[in-house]
Amino acid sequence: MPVRPSGITNASFAPWIVALVFLALAAWLTFFSARPDLGPTVSAALIEQADIRPEPRRHVLGEPAAIPMGGYSLRCMECHRFFQSPPVERRILTQHTHIVLRHGQNTRCFNCHDRADRGKLIRYDGTRLGFDQVPRLCSECHGTVYRDWERGTHGKTLGSWDPASGKQRRLACHECHDPHAPAYPDYVPLPPPNTLRMGEQGSGHSAGIDSEHGQAESATLGGSGHDSPLMHRSSMPRGTKEPTE
């Protein structure tokens, strides 16, 4: 068997071709090969900035109270000086018709509003309060909640966490609750998570803890490694709807 010589030195044109081939190969690998998948990516959930703005839930009347009407900001008595309310207490409203009164047993306008001076609120004992003293009015009936609010264990506080800083602002009752219908309305929830290791990717509307990941995570969350028979009770298979009554 003859010994094979090193052949490349025999071809004077070889380096050019080799270089070209190599360059083309490198370029192809660099620019046209598939980028490795770094992980599932999803389009970011669109959140209205207004949804998460740190402001009170409601805009309230100040003291003295004034409402916009016909392009003017009118105080209560500027109309009610001329228009007295009829003496019948329970009736269909002809003015302020946007008000829906859903306040439990409290079904009379003049339980809270002063009949004589509409720019004021009135307590049961006849004390008149400005519109900036709403919590004192509400405390007549909601004593325990008022106690909690004064301590800071009920209600929302903005500003600083430090009471000594003087920058704390505890929102008044009517900055969160509608005084005419104090129960909170239902909210449209912001989108569910679509995060890595937090259930299935890419659906955006995952119906429950139904994937393998979800089970694993649920087990971790619950702190026990074994399969709980209760685990699936709250989860709904994809495509089914929660029973509603």
Binding site: P2, G7, A11, L29, G104, P163, T195
Partner: protein, 348 residues
């Protein structure tokens, strides 16, 4: 059959060139194929480099940077300047990044009113907007778990609930985030001490020191730690430029992150972003050492519990309840003074 001469020629073709008759074309092809294959392998081996972002390259300065606790103020300022330049190059905004230190005499605590939370998830997205989490893949620090009424068994909870309206009458809502434990298992398991507990109680992470082993994620019983599996993406216009070294500066791929009680806000006296966004006032934050603070009042006067008390983590995150008086909110109860109501029976 071929002639003997041609047979000899055939044999010589298969044997390759002989010493006396070199065949440049054949040998060239052979070496070219071998060389091309070798280079192809080489180029393929190097091809991951094409995914290397310039921003990801560890500059020597960052590589030689010390652990946060070992840096002198001057060295921290150098690190902050490096981060400023990096963020400006990437997001086009020069951030206001500082190294905020804990205040003396302050231990933070968080309280959450389960009677009031309605599960609207505003806290989740306020947190994302404040803390520069990756939008895609999504990273969120807060999980709102929808729980069936009458149980505290988290295995029955669901954080993927997607109702048209909340709250649902048969469920209550329990947001879970980092509990900033006083006895944090995540800190114990970190092999490089990249995460630790600060004097004000907040468990922090030095993102430049984290090696991404995810031991802490496994150790956390509250599922509070998040890992950057991919390079975080964040629209330039959504970047929050108010940053702190240990909290919401942009994180690289391959490190852990988690809730830090909005250090960049709370160490300056402000409220956390999740609290400000809550429409119900369910979230309370304050100084545990101040008896007049809201959290102290809650611990003193409310029914409070911590999640998974039995694992001994001593969380700084408390859940509490309100007393409720359903009759006062009952729509059916009408004023007995109303003329439409039946007259009350006269007492004997």
């Amino acid at each position: 059959m071929t002639t003997p001469t041609s047979a000899t020629t055939d044999v010589r073709i298969w044997d390759g060139p002989s010493a006396d008759a070199p065949q440049p074309r054949r040998s060239f092809l052979r070496s070219a194929v071998a060389g091309a294959a070798g280079l192809a392998a080489f180029a393929a081996a190097l091809s991951p480099l094409k995914d290397l972002d310039v921003m990801e390259l560890a500059d020597p300065q960052a590589f030689l940077q010390k652990h946060y606790k070992e840096m002198t103020p001057a060295e921290i300022e150098v690190a902050l300047e490096r981060i400023r330049n990096k963020v400006e190059a990437r997001y086009g905004v020069r951030p206001d990044i500082r190294d905020l230190r804990p205040q003396a005499g302050v231990e933070f605590a968080y309280a959450l009113n389960l009677s009031r939370c309605i599960g609207c998830r505003k806290c989740v997205y306020a947190c994302v907007a404040e803390n520069n989490q990756s939008r895609s893949p999504q990273i969120q620090y807060i999980r709102v778990v929808e729980m069936p009424r009458g149980t505290l068994d988290l295995e029955r909870g669901n954080h993927h609930y997607d109702r048209p309206r909340v709250p649902d009458n048969d469920h209550y809502y329990m947001p879970v985030q980092c509990h900033q434990c006083a006895n944090p298992p995540c800190v114990k398991v970190c092999p490089v001490e990249a995460t630790w507990k600060e004097p004000d109680g907040v468990v922090v992470i030095d993102y430049d020191w984290c090696i991404g082993c995810r031991y802490c994620e496994a150790a956390c019983p509250y599922w509070a730690r998040r890992f950057n599996f991919a390079e975080p993406t964040l629209p330039k216009e959504e970047l929050n430029p108010t940053m702190s070294y240990l909290s919401n500066r942009p994180r690289p791929r391959g490190v852990m992150e988690k809730c830090h009680f909005c250090l960049q806000r709370t160490r300056e006296g402000r409220m956390p972003a999740c609290l400000e966004a809550c429409p119900t006032g369910s979230r309370k934050f304050g100084n545990l050492l101040d008896p007049t603070s809201e959290v102290s009042q809650i611990l003193k006067t409310k029914r409070v519990f911590v999640l998974k008390e039995e694992v001994g983590t001593l969380p700084r995150f408390f859940y509490y309840f309100d007393e409720r008086y359903p009759s006062a909110h009952d729509e059916n109860v009408d004023d007995p003074r109303l003329p439409t109501s039946p007259a009350p029976e006269a007492r004997p």
